[in-house]
Protein backbone atom coordinates (compact mmCIF):
# COMPACT_ATOMS: atom_id res chain seq x y z
CA UNK A 1 0.00 0.00 0.00
CA UNK A 2 1.52 3.27 -1.10
CA UNK A 3 1.52 6.18 1.31
CA UNK A 4 2.04 9.48 -0.42
CA UNK A 5 2.35 11.95 2.42
CA UNK A 6 5.04 14.56 1.79
CA UNK A 7 5.88 18.17 2.62
CA UNK A 8 5.39 21.26 0.49
CA UNK A 9 9.13 21.34 -0.16
CA UNK A 10 9.08 17.73 -1.31
CA UNK A 11 6.34 18.64 -3.80
CA UNK A 12 8.46 21.53 -5.05
CA UNK A 13 11.36 19.09 -5.33
CA UNK A 14 9.36 17.18 -7.94
CA UNK A 15 8.80 20.30 -10.03
CA UNK A 16 11.24 21.75 -12.56
CA UNK A 17 11.72 25.15 -14.15
CA UNK A 18 9.87 25.48 -17.42
CA UNK A 19 7.01 23.17 -16.42
CA UNK A 20 3.33 23.76 -17.17
CA UNK A 21 1.54 23.66 -13.82
CA UNK A 22 -2.23 23.76 -13.21
CA UNK A 23 -3.37 25.24 -9.90
CA UNK A 24 -6.82 24.32 -8.55
CA UNK A 25 -9.39 26.40 -6.73
CA UNK A 26 -11.04 29.50 -8.18
CA UNK A 27 -10.03 33.18 -7.87
CA UNK A 28 -9.34 33.67 -4.13
CA UNK A 29 -10.96 30.38 -3.08
CA UNK A 30 -9.35 27.13 -1.89
CA UNK A 31 -5.98 27.74 -3.51
CA UNK A 32 -3.02 25.53 -2.52
CA UNK A 33 -1.23 28.57 -1.14
CA UNK A 34 1.24 26.75 1.11
CA UNK A 35 2.64 24.95 -1.95
CA UNK A 36 2.57 28.19 -3.98
CA UNK A 37 4.56 29.95 -1.26
CA UNK A 38 7.07 27.07 -1.27
CA UNK A 39 7.49 27.54 -5.04
CA UNK A 40 8.12 31.25 -4.49
CA UNK A 41 10.89 30.38 -1.99
CA UNK A 42 12.47 27.87 -4.39
CA UNK A 43 14.76 28.45 -7.38
CA UNK A 44 12.13 27.16 -9.83
CA UNK A 45 11.04 29.65 -12.48
CA UNK A 46 9.91 29.97 -16.10
CA UNK A 47 6.56 28.34 -15.27
CA UNK A 48 3.47 28.22 -17.44
CA UNK A 49 0.61 28.57 -14.95
CA UNK A 50 -2.84 27.21 -15.85
CA UNK A 51 -5.44 28.57 -13.45
CA UNK A 52 -8.80 30.11 -12.63
CA UNK A 53 -6.53 32.83 -11.47
CA UNK A 54 -6.29 34.43 -8.08
CA UNK A 55 -3.43 35.18 -5.70
CA UNK A 56 -1.71 31.95 -6.81
CA UNK A 57 -0.92 33.46 -10.19
CA UNK A 58 -0.40 36.94 -8.74
CA UNK A 59 2.09 35.78 -6.13
CA UNK A 60 4.05 33.78 -8.70
CA UNK A 61 4.05 36.79 -11.07
CA UNK A 62 5.27 39.09 -8.31
CA UNK A 63 8.10 36.66 -7.55
CA UNK A 64 9.14 36.45 -11.21
CA UNK A 65 8.29 32.76 -11.52
CA UNK A 66 5.90 32.99 -14.47
CA UNK A 67 6.78 32.83 -18.13
CA UNK A 68 3.24 32.37 -19.38
CA UNK A 69 -0.28 32.60 -17.94
CA UNK A 70 -3.12 30.42 -19.28
CA UNK A 71 -6.41 31.66 -17.82
CA UNK A 72 -9.91 32.97 -18.49
CA UNK A 73 -9.92 35.49 -15.62
CA UNK A 74 -7.80 36.59 -12.70
CA UNK A 75 -9.53 38.03 -9.63
CA UNK A 76 -9.30 38.25 -5.87
CA UNK A 77 -13.12 38.11 -5.52
CA UNK A 78 -13.53 40.94 -3.01
CA UNK A 79 -10.85 42.86 -4.91
CA UNK A 80 -12.12 42.39 -8.45
CA UNK A 81 -8.82 42.79 -10.31
CA UNK A 82 -5.56 41.05 -9.29
CA UNK A 83 -2.95 43.83 -8.92
CA UNK A 84 0.22 41.71 -9.22
CA UNK A 85 -1.06 39.97 -12.34
CA UNK A 86 -2.08 43.32 -13.82
CA UNK A 87 1.38 44.72 -13.18
CA UNK A 88 2.98 41.73 -14.91
CA UNK A 89 0.70 42.08 -17.93
CA UNK A 90 1.06 45.83 -18.21
CA UNK A 91 4.86 45.70 -17.95
CA UNK A 92 5.05 42.91 -20.52
CA UNK A 93 6.78 40.64 -17.99
CA UNK A 94 4.70 37.57 -18.88
CA UNK A 95 3.34 35.89 -21.98
CA UNK A 96 -0.42 35.73 -22.16
CA UNK A 97 -2.65 32.89 -23.30
CA UNK A 98 -6.26 33.95 -22.78
CA UNK A 99 -9.14 31.48 -22.79
CA UNK A 100 -12.88 31.48 -22.34
CA UNK A 101 -13.89 29.64 -19.14
CA UNK A 102 -15.74 26.97 -21.06
CA UNK A 103 -12.87 26.41 -23.49
CA UNK A 104 -10.62 26.04 -20.46
CA UNK A 105 -12.85 23.16 -19.35
CA UNK A 106 -12.64 21.50 -22.77
CA UNK A 107 -8.86 21.88 -22.92
CA UNK A 108 -8.40 20.08 -19.60
CA UNK A 109 -10.97 17.46 -20.54
CA UNK A 110 -9.20 16.82 -23.85
CA UNK A 111 -5.90 16.34 -22.02
CA UNK A 112 -7.54 14.00 -19.50
CA UNK A 113 -9.12 11.96 -22.29
CA UNK A 114 -5.91 11.95 -24.37
CA UNK A 115 -7.53 13.47 -27.46
CA UNK A 116 -5.89 16.39 -29.32
CA UNK A 117 -8.85 18.75 -29.07
CA UNK A 118 -12.55 19.08 -28.32
CA UNK A 119 -14.96 21.04 -30.53
CA UNK A 120 -16.90 24.11 -29.54
CA UNK A 121 -18.74 27.08 -30.92
CA UNK A 122 -17.13 29.24 -28.26
CA UNK A 123 -14.76 31.93 -29.45
CA UNK A 124 -16.24 32.40 -32.92
CA UNK A 125 -16.49 36.08 -33.80
CA UNK A 126 -14.53 37.25 -30.74
CA UNK A 127 -10.96 38.51 -30.50
CA UNK A 128 -10.05 35.37 -28.56
CA UNK A 129 -9.05 33.73 -31.84
CA UNK A 130 -6.76 36.73 -32.50
CA UNK A 131 -5.23 36.78 -29.02
CA UNK A 132 -4.74 33.03 -28.58
CA UNK A 133 -3.14 31.68 -31.77
CA UNK A 134 -3.39 28.10 -30.46
CA UNK A 135 -7.12 28.28 -31.17
CA UNK A 136 -8.05 27.33 -34.71
CA UNK A 137 -11.29 26.69 -36.56
CA UNK A 138 -12.32 23.76 -38.72
CA UNK A 139 -15.36 22.63 -40.65
CA UNK A 140 -17.26 19.92 -38.84
CA UNK A 141 -16.82 16.50 -40.51
CA UNK A 142 -20.40 15.62 -39.63
CA UNK A 143 -23.68 17.47 -40.24
CA UNK A 144 -24.93 19.91 -37.63
CA UNK A 145 -27.77 19.11 -35.18
CA UNK A 146 -30.98 18.32 -37.02
CA UNK A 147 -29.13 17.62 -40.27
CA UNK A 148 -27.94 21.16 -40.80
CA UNK A 149 -25.02 21.93 -43.08
CA UNK A 150 -21.66 21.17 -41.44
CA UNK A 151 -20.60 24.27 -39.57
CA UNK A 152 -17.40 26.04 -38.66
CA UNK A 153 -16.24 25.22 -35.13
CA UNK A 154 -13.36 26.04 -32.82
CA UNK A 155 -10.84 23.30 -31.97
CA UNK A 156 -9.87 23.72 -28.33
CA UNK A 157 -6.49 21.97 -28.03
CA UNK A 158 -5.68 19.75 -25.05
CA UNK A 159 -3.99 21.75 -22.28
CA UNK A 160 -1.00 19.53 -21.71
CA UNK A 161 0.24 19.71 -18.15
CA UNK A 162 3.39 18.64 -16.36
CA UNK A 163 1.87 19.01 -12.90
CA UNK A 164 -1.31 19.91 -11.01
CA UNK A 165 -1.57 21.36 -7.49
CA UNK A 166 -4.87 21.45 -5.55
CA UNK A 167 -6.02 22.02 -1.98
CA UNK A 168 -8.83 19.83 -0.63
CA UNK A 169 -10.62 19.66 2.70
CA UNK A 170 -9.94 16.06 3.74
CA UNK A 171 -7.62 13.40 2.34
CA UNK A 172 -6.24 10.04 3.30
CA UNK A 173 -2.56 9.11 3.06
CA UNK A 174 -3.07 7.36 -0.28
CA UNK A 175 -4.52 10.37 -2.10
CA UNK A 176 -8.28 9.89 -1.87
CA UNK A 177 -9.82 13.24 -1.01
CA UNK A 178 -13.06 15.17 -0.54
CA UNK A 179 -14.22 18.73 -1.04
CA UNK A 180 -16.60 19.94 1.68
CA UNK A 181 -17.45 23.40 0.34
CA UNK A 182 -20.11 24.14 -2.28
CA UNK A 183 -17.88 23.64 -5.33
CA UNK A 184 -15.07 21.32 -6.41
CA UNK A 185 -14.25 23.77 -9.22
CA UNK A 186 -12.03 21.92 -11.72
CA UNK A 187 -9.63 20.30 -9.27
CA UNK A 188 -10.51 16.78 -10.42
CA UNK A 189 -10.15 17.75 -14.09
CA UNK A 190 -6.73 19.26 -13.46
CA UNK A 191 -5.56 16.20 -11.54
CA UNK A 192 -6.86 13.95 -14.33
CA UNK A 193 -5.23 16.06 -17.03
CA UNK A 194 -1.78 15.96 -15.37
CA UNK A 195 0.60 13.03 -15.91
CA UNK A 196 1.40 10.39 -13.30
CA UNK A 197 4.14 11.69 -11.02
CA UNK A 198 3.01 15.31 -11.23
CA UNK A 199 -0.27 15.32 -9.28
CA UNK A 200 -0.20 16.84 -5.81
CA UNK A 201 -2.83 17.79 -3.27
CA UNK A 202 -2.66 19.49 0.08
CA UNK A 203 -5.47 19.04 2.58
CA UNK A 204 -6.83 20.62 5.73
CA UNK A 205 -6.89 17.19 7.36
CA UNK A 206 -5.24 13.88 6.57
CA UNK A 207 -7.16 10.93 8.07
CA UNK A 208 -7.36 7.16 7.85
CA UNK A 209 -9.22 5.87 4.81
CA UNK A 210 -11.86 4.30 7.08
CA UNK A 211 -12.62 7.74 8.53
CA UNK A 212 -12.72 9.63 5.25
CA UNK A 213 -16.37 9.13 4.32
CA UNK A 214 -17.48 10.21 7.80
CA UNK A 215 -16.32 13.75 7.07
CA UNK A 216 -18.99 14.33 4.43
CA UNK A 217 -21.16 12.52 1.92
CA UNK A 218 -20.33 9.92 -0.72
CA UNK A 219 -20.97 12.51 -3.43
CA UNK A 220 -18.16 14.69 -2.12
CA UNK A 221 -15.57 11.92 -2.59
CA UNK A 222 -14.46 13.21 -5.96
CA UNK A 223 -10.67 12.83 -5.79
CA UNK A 224 -9.40 9.27 -6.21
CA UNK A 225 -5.90 8.10 -5.35
CA UNK A 226 -5.58 7.18 -9.05
CA UNK A 227 -5.37 10.96 -9.65
CA UNK A 228 -2.82 11.77 -6.93
CA UNK A 229 0.91 11.24 -6.42
CA UNK A 230 1.52 13.28 -3.29
CA UNK A 231 -0.50 14.42 -0.25
CA UNK A 232 0.56 17.34 1.94
CA UNK A 233 -0.89 17.62 5.44
CA UNK A 234 -1.56 21.35 5.37
CA UNK A 235 -4.09 22.70 7.88
CA UNK A 236 -4.66 26.32 6.89
CA UNK A 237 -2.88 25.61 3.60
CA UNK A 238 -5.31 27.68 1.53
CA UNK A 239 -4.91 30.80 3.69
CA UNK A 240 -5.40 33.71 2.89
CA UNK A 241 -7.91 32.41 0.31
CA UNK A 242 -11.15 31.00 1.67
CA UNK A 243 -11.60 27.31 2.40
CA UNK A 244 -15.25 26.43 3.03
CA UNK A 245 -16.27 25.27 5.60
CA UNK A 246 -13.02 25.56 7.57
CA UNK A 247 -12.34 29.27 7.23
CA UNK A 248 -13.36 32.40 5.33
CA UNK A 249 -10.98 34.51 3.27
CA UNK A 250 -8.58 36.54 5.45
CA UNK A 251 -9.47 39.91 3.96
CA UNK A 252 -6.88 41.79 6.02
CA UNK A 253 -3.99 39.71 4.72
CA UNK A 254 -5.44 39.79 1.19
CA UNK A 255 -5.62 43.59 1.37
CA UNK A 256 -1.99 43.72 2.50
CA UNK A 257 -1.05 41.39 -0.35
CA UNK A 258 -2.92 43.54 -2.90
CA UNK A 259 -1.41 46.76 -1.54
CA UNK A 260 2.07 45.29 -1.93
CA UNK A 261 1.74 45.65 -5.71
CA UNK A 262 2.16 49.41 -5.30
CA UNK A 263 5.98 49.39 -5.23
CA UNK A 264 8.96 47.01 -5.18
CA UNK A 265 9.56 48.04 -1.58
CA UNK A 266 6.01 47.19 -0.56
CA UNK A 267 6.28 43.80 -2.27
CA UNK A 268 9.63 43.09 -0.57
CA UNK A 269 8.08 43.90 2.80
CA UNK A 270 5.05 41.66 2.20
CA UNK A 271 7.27 38.88 0.93
CA UNK A 272 9.52 39.07 3.99
CA UNK A 273 6.53 39.04 6.33
CA UNK A 274 4.30 36.43 4.68
CA UNK A 275 6.29 34.38 2.16
CA UNK A 276 9.94 34.03 3.15
CA UNK A 277 9.07 32.23 6.35
CA UNK A 278 8.43 28.58 7.14
CA UNK A 279 4.90 27.21 6.84
CA UNK A 280 4.88 26.60 10.62
CA UNK A 281 5.75 30.21 11.25
CA UNK A 282 3.13 31.35 8.73
CA UNK A 283 0.39 29.37 10.45
CA UNK A 284 1.52 30.63 13.86
CA UNK A 285 1.24 34.23 12.59
CA UNK A 286 -2.26 33.51 11.29
CA UNK A 287 -3.31 32.05 14.65
CA UNK A 288 -1.82 34.98 16.55
CA UNK A 289 -3.57 37.50 14.32
CA UNK A 290 -6.89 35.73 14.91
CA UNK A 291 -6.42 35.52 18.69
Amino acid sequence: MTHKVMTEDEVVGRLRSGMTVAIGGWASRRKPMSIVRAIVRSDIDDLTVVTHGGPDLGLLCAAGKVRRAVYAFVSLDTIPLEPHFRAARQSGAIEDEPLDEGLFHLGLQAAAWRVPFLPSRVGLGSDLLRDNPRLTTFTSPVPGPGGREPEELVAMPAIELDAALCHLNVADRRGNAMFLGPDLYWDDLMLQAAPTGGRFISAEKVVDTAELAGHGTLHQMRISRMMVDGVVDAPGGAHFTLCDPEYPRDEAVQRAYAASAKSPEAWAAFRAEWVDISEDEYQRKVREAAA
Binding site: Q90, E101, R121, L184, L189
Partner: protein, 260 residues
Protein backbone atom coordinates in the same frame (compact mmCIF):
# COMPACT_ATOMS: atom_id res chain seq x y z
CA UNK B 1 -37.50 67.40 -12.20
CA UNK B 2 -37.39 64.39 -9.96
CA UNK B 3 -37.65 60.78 -10.96
CA UNK B 4 -41.06 59.34 -10.52
CA UNK B 5 -42.96 61.56 -8.15
CA UNK B 6 -46.09 60.93 -10.22
CA UNK B 7 -47.33 58.34 -7.77
CA UNK B 8 -46.70 60.61 -4.83
CA UNK B 9 -43.85 58.36 -3.73
CA UNK B 10 -40.32 59.24 -4.77
CA UNK B 11 -38.84 56.47 -6.90
CA UNK B 12 -35.04 56.45 -6.97
CA UNK B 13 -32.92 56.12 -10.09
CA UNK B 14 -31.69 52.75 -8.83
CA UNK B 15 -35.30 51.53 -8.61
CA UNK B 16 -35.95 52.63 -12.19
CA UNK B 17 -32.84 50.66 -13.20
CA UNK B 18 -34.12 47.60 -11.31
CA UNK B 19 -37.39 47.68 -13.27
CA UNK B 20 -35.51 48.17 -16.56
CA UNK B 21 -33.37 45.10 -15.78
CA UNK B 22 -36.47 43.08 -14.89
CA UNK B 23 -38.06 44.02 -18.22
CA UNK B 24 -35.05 42.48 -20.05
CA UNK B 25 -36.16 39.05 -18.83
CA UNK B 26 -39.82 39.42 -19.85
CA UNK B 27 -40.91 36.47 -21.96
CA UNK B 28 -37.91 34.28 -21.12
CA UNK B 29 -39.92 31.52 -19.40
CA UNK B 30 -38.20 28.56 -17.73
CA UNK B 31 -34.54 29.35 -18.30
CA UNK B 32 -31.62 30.45 -16.15
CA UNK B 33 -31.83 34.20 -15.67
CA UNK B 34 -28.22 35.02 -14.84
CA UNK B 35 -27.78 38.70 -14.07
CA UNK B 36 -24.34 39.58 -12.69
CA UNK B 37 -24.03 42.59 -10.39
CA UNK B 38 -26.03 44.20 -7.60
CA UNK B 39 -28.87 45.90 -9.51
CA UNK B 40 -28.98 43.16 -12.17
CA UNK B 41 -29.56 40.51 -9.47
CA UNK B 42 -32.29 42.63 -7.85
CA UNK B 43 -33.92 43.19 -11.25
CA UNK B 44 -33.84 39.50 -12.11
CA UNK B 45 -35.40 38.61 -8.76
CA UNK B 46 -38.11 41.23 -9.40
CA UNK B 47 -38.94 39.70 -12.78
CA UNK B 48 -39.30 36.27 -11.17
CA UNK B 49 -41.35 37.59 -8.26
CA UNK B 50 -43.81 39.20 -10.68
CA UNK B 51 -44.26 38.51 -14.40
CA UNK B 52 -41.69 35.68 -15.05
CA UNK B 53 -42.32 33.19 -12.22
CA UNK B 54 -40.63 30.25 -13.98
CA UNK B 55 -37.16 31.79 -14.22
CA UNK B 56 -34.36 29.91 -12.46
CA UNK B 57 -31.75 31.95 -10.62
CA UNK B 58 -28.49 31.38 -8.75
CA UNK B 59 -27.41 32.20 -5.22
CA UNK B 60 -24.35 33.88 -6.76
CA UNK B 61 -22.35 30.83 -5.83
CA UNK B 62 -22.96 27.15 -6.57
CA UNK B 63 -26.72 26.64 -6.40
CA UNK B 64 -30.04 27.64 -7.93
CA UNK B 65 -32.38 29.00 -5.26
CA UNK B 66 -36.04 29.98 -5.06
CA UNK B 67 -35.65 32.96 -2.69
CA UNK B 68 -36.93 36.38 -3.68
CA UNK B 69 -34.28 38.17 -1.65
CA UNK B 70 -31.28 39.12 -3.83
CA UNK B 71 -28.52 38.20 -1.38
CA UNK B 72 -29.38 35.31 0.93
CA UNK B 73 -27.42 33.86 3.85
CA UNK B 74 -26.56 30.18 3.20
CA UNK B 75 -28.82 28.97 6.03
CA UNK B 76 -31.84 30.77 4.57
CA UNK B 77 -31.47 29.60 0.96
CA UNK B 78 -34.33 27.60 -0.58
CA UNK B 79 -32.31 25.28 -2.78
CA UNK B 80 -33.60 23.98 -6.12
CA UNK B 81 -30.43 22.57 -7.68
CA UNK B 82 -26.72 22.12 -6.98
CA UNK B 83 -25.10 24.18 -9.70
CA UNK B 84 -21.32 24.07 -9.32
CA UNK B 85 -19.15 26.08 -11.70
CA UNK B 86 -18.85 23.23 -14.16
CA UNK B 87 -22.62 22.76 -14.40
CA UNK B 88 -22.98 26.37 -15.47
CA UNK B 89 -21.58 25.45 -18.88
CA UNK B 90 -24.38 22.93 -19.38
CA UNK B 91 -26.77 25.88 -19.25
CA UNK B 92 -24.51 28.18 -21.25
CA UNK B 93 -23.97 25.74 -24.10
CA UNK B 94 -27.54 24.46 -24.21
CA UNK B 95 -28.86 28.00 -24.57
CA UNK B 96 -31.23 27.77 -21.62
CA UNK B 97 -29.87 31.00 -20.22
CA UNK B 98 -30.06 34.78 -20.50
CA UNK B 99 -26.98 36.40 -19.04
CA UNK B 100 -26.63 40.04 -18.07
CA UNK B 101 -22.95 40.91 -17.91
CA UNK B 102 -21.05 44.06 -17.09
CA UNK B 103 -18.87 45.76 -19.67
CA UNK B 104 -15.85 47.97 -19.23
CA UNK B 105 -16.48 49.02 -22.82
CA UNK B 106 -19.43 48.39 -25.12
CA UNK B 107 -19.74 49.76 -28.66
CA UNK B 108 -22.54 50.76 -31.02
CA UNK B 109 -22.79 47.23 -32.43
CA UNK B 110 -22.93 45.63 -28.98
CA UNK B 111 -19.37 44.34 -28.77
CA UNK B 112 -18.20 44.06 -25.17
CA UNK B 113 -14.73 44.34 -23.63
CA UNK B 114 -13.85 42.82 -20.24
CA UNK B 115 -10.22 41.93 -21.00
CA UNK B 116 -7.91 44.89 -21.52
CA UNK B 117 -7.77 48.60 -22.37
CA UNK B 118 -5.32 49.56 -25.11
CA UNK B 119 -3.32 47.16 -27.25
CA UNK B 120 -4.11 43.64 -26.02
CA UNK B 121 -0.54 42.41 -26.44
CA UNK B 122 0.77 45.03 -24.01
CA UNK B 123 -2.31 46.58 -22.41
CA UNK B 124 -2.46 49.97 -20.83
CA UNK B 125 -4.88 48.49 -18.32
CA UNK B 126 -5.29 44.76 -17.79
CA UNK B 127 -8.85 43.92 -16.75
CA UNK B 128 -10.49 40.67 -15.68
CA UNK B 129 -9.85 38.61 -18.81
CA UNK B 130 -12.14 37.08 -21.43
CA UNK B 131 -14.04 35.36 -18.58
CA UNK B 132 -16.98 33.49 -20.17
CA UNK B 133 -17.95 36.25 -22.58
CA UNK B 134 -17.15 34.54 -25.91
CA UNK B 135 -19.14 31.48 -24.87
CA UNK B 136 -22.00 33.45 -23.37
CA UNK B 137 -22.59 35.62 -26.41
CA UNK B 138 -22.33 32.88 -29.05
CA UNK B 139 -24.72 30.59 -27.12
CA UNK B 140 -27.14 32.65 -25.06
CA UNK B 141 -29.31 35.72 -25.01
CA UNK B 142 -27.12 38.47 -23.58
CA UNK B 143 -27.84 41.87 -22.05
CA UNK B 144 -25.48 44.34 -20.45
CA UNK B 145 -25.54 46.46 -17.31
CA UNK B 146 -23.61 49.73 -17.27
CA UNK B 147 -23.91 51.60 -13.95
CA UNK B 148 -21.67 54.43 -15.17
CA UNK B 149 -22.93 55.54 -18.60
CA UNK B 150 -20.19 57.68 -20.15
CA UNK B 151 -18.17 58.15 -23.34
CA UNK B 152 -15.31 55.97 -22.05
CA UNK B 153 -17.71 53.06 -21.54
CA UNK B 154 -19.98 53.48 -24.57
CA UNK B 155 -17.23 53.77 -27.16
CA UNK B 156 -17.17 53.80 -30.99
CA UNK B 157 -15.19 50.53 -31.05
CA UNK B 158 -14.07 48.39 -28.11
CA UNK B 159 -10.34 47.70 -27.74
CA UNK B 160 -10.79 43.93 -27.43
CA UNK B 161 -13.94 42.02 -28.36
CA UNK B 162 -14.67 39.59 -25.53
CA UNK B 163 -18.45 39.43 -26.09
CA UNK B 164 -19.54 39.45 -29.73
CA UNK B 165 -22.15 41.73 -31.28
CA UNK B 166 -24.92 41.46 -33.84
CA UNK B 167 -22.52 42.64 -36.54
CA UNK B 168 -19.87 39.98 -35.95
CA UNK B 169 -22.56 37.35 -35.50
CA UNK B 170 -24.02 38.16 -38.92
CA UNK B 171 -20.60 37.63 -40.49
CA UNK B 172 -20.47 34.11 -39.05
CA UNK B 173 -23.64 32.89 -40.76
CA UNK B 174 -25.30 29.77 -39.37
CA UNK B 175 -22.76 29.37 -36.54
CA UNK B 176 -24.19 32.42 -34.84
CA UNK B 177 -27.84 31.37 -34.93
CA UNK B 178 -28.12 31.46 -31.13
CA UNK B 179 -26.81 35.02 -30.75
CA UNK B 180 -29.17 37.60 -29.31
CA UNK B 181 -27.79 40.82 -27.85
CA UNK B 182 -31.00 42.06 -26.33
CA UNK B 183 -30.52 45.22 -24.30
CA UNK B 184 -28.12 47.54 -22.49
CA UNK B 185 -29.44 49.02 -19.25
CA UNK B 186 -27.47 51.97 -17.87
CA UNK B 187 -27.88 54.43 -15.02
CA UNK B 188 -29.29 56.92 -17.56
CA UNK B 189 -31.28 54.95 -20.11
CA UNK B 190 -32.28 51.69 -21.75
CA UNK B 191 -30.68 50.89 -25.11
CA UNK B 192 -31.42 48.15 -27.62
CA UNK B 193 -30.48 47.03 -31.13
CA UNK B 194 -33.92 47.14 -32.75
CA UNK B 195 -32.70 49.04 -35.81
CA UNK B 196 -32.36 47.84 -39.43
CA UNK B 197 -28.57 47.55 -39.15
CA UNK B 198 -28.61 46.36 -35.53
CA UNK B 199 -26.79 49.39 -34.17
CA UNK B 200 -27.58 50.73 -30.74
CA UNK B 201 -30.81 52.67 -30.26
CA UNK B 202 -32.15 54.72 -27.40
CA UNK B 203 -35.15 52.73 -26.18
CA UNK B 204 -36.13 54.84 -23.17
CA UNK B 205 -34.64 57.48 -20.89
CA UNK B 206 -34.91 57.26 -17.13
CA UNK B 207 -37.08 59.92 -15.46
CA UNK B 208 -34.98 63.00 -14.76
CA UNK B 209 -32.60 62.33 -17.67
CA UNK B 210 -32.89 64.18 -21.00
CA UNK B 211 -32.17 62.73 -24.40
CA UNK B 212 -29.35 65.28 -24.71
CA UNK B 213 -27.83 63.96 -21.48
CA UNK B 214 -27.73 60.45 -22.93
CA UNK B 215 -26.37 61.59 -26.29
CA UNK B 216 -23.64 63.62 -24.57
CA UNK B 217 -22.67 60.66 -22.38
CA UNK B 218 -22.39 58.29 -25.35
CA UNK B 219 -19.15 58.08 -27.34
CA UNK B 220 -20.81 57.38 -30.69
CA UNK B 221 -23.88 58.38 -32.68
CA UNK B 222 -26.77 56.70 -30.94
CA UNK B 223 -29.90 56.05 -32.97
CA UNK B 224 -32.53 58.32 -31.41
CA UNK B 225 -36.11 57.66 -32.57
CA UNK B 226 -38.51 60.61 -33.01
CA UNK B 227 -40.36 59.58 -29.88
CA UNK B 228 -38.37 58.30 -26.90
CA UNK B 229 -40.49 57.13 -24.00
CA UNK B 230 -39.62 57.48 -20.36
CA UNK B 231 -38.42 54.28 -18.67
CA UNK B 232 -41.22 52.54 -16.83
CA UNK B 233 -41.70 53.25 -13.14
CA UNK B 234 -42.28 50.40 -10.69
CA UNK B 235 -45.86 49.64 -9.75
CA UNK B 236 -46.78 49.95 -6.09
CA UNK B 237 -46.43 46.18 -5.76
CA UNK B 238 -43.03 46.17 -7.46
CA UNK B 239 -41.78 49.01 -5.27
CA UNK B 240 -42.84 47.17 -2.15
CA UNK B 241 -41.12 43.99 -3.36
CA UNK B 242 -37.90 45.87 -4.13
CA UNK B 243 -37.81 47.75 -0.84
CA UNK B 244 -39.21 45.20 1.59
CA UNK B 245 -38.41 41.79 0.16
CA UNK B 246 -35.71 41.72 -2.50
CA UNK B 247 -33.29 44.40 -1.34
CA UNK B 248 -34.26 45.54 2.16
CA UNK B 249 -30.70 46.76 2.81
CA UNK B 250 -30.97 49.15 -0.18
CA UNK B 251 -27.71 47.94 -1.72
CA UNK B 252 -29.11 49.24 -5.04
CA UNK B 253 -28.72 52.83 -3.85
CA UNK B 254 -24.98 52.34 -3.35
CA UNK B 255 -24.49 51.05 -6.89
CA UNK B 256 -26.48 53.89 -8.48
CA UNK B 257 -26.86 56.84 -6.09
CA UNK B 258 -30.06 58.81 -6.55
CA UNK B 259 -29.40 62.14 -8.32
CA UNK B 260 -32.23 63.81 -6.41
Amino acid sequence: MTGGDTTGVHVTRAEVCVVAVAECFRGDGEILANPIGTIPMIGGRLARATFEPDLCMTDGEAALIANDRAVVDPGDRVYEYWNPYRSMFDWVWSGRRHVMMGATQVDRHGNQNLAAIGDYARPKVQLLGYRGAPGNTINDTTSYWVPNHGPKVLVPAVDTVTGICWDRAAALGDGSRFVEIRRVVTNLAVLDFETPDRTMRLRSVHPGVSIDDVVAATGFDLVVPPEVPSSRLPTATELELIREVIDPDATREREVPDPD
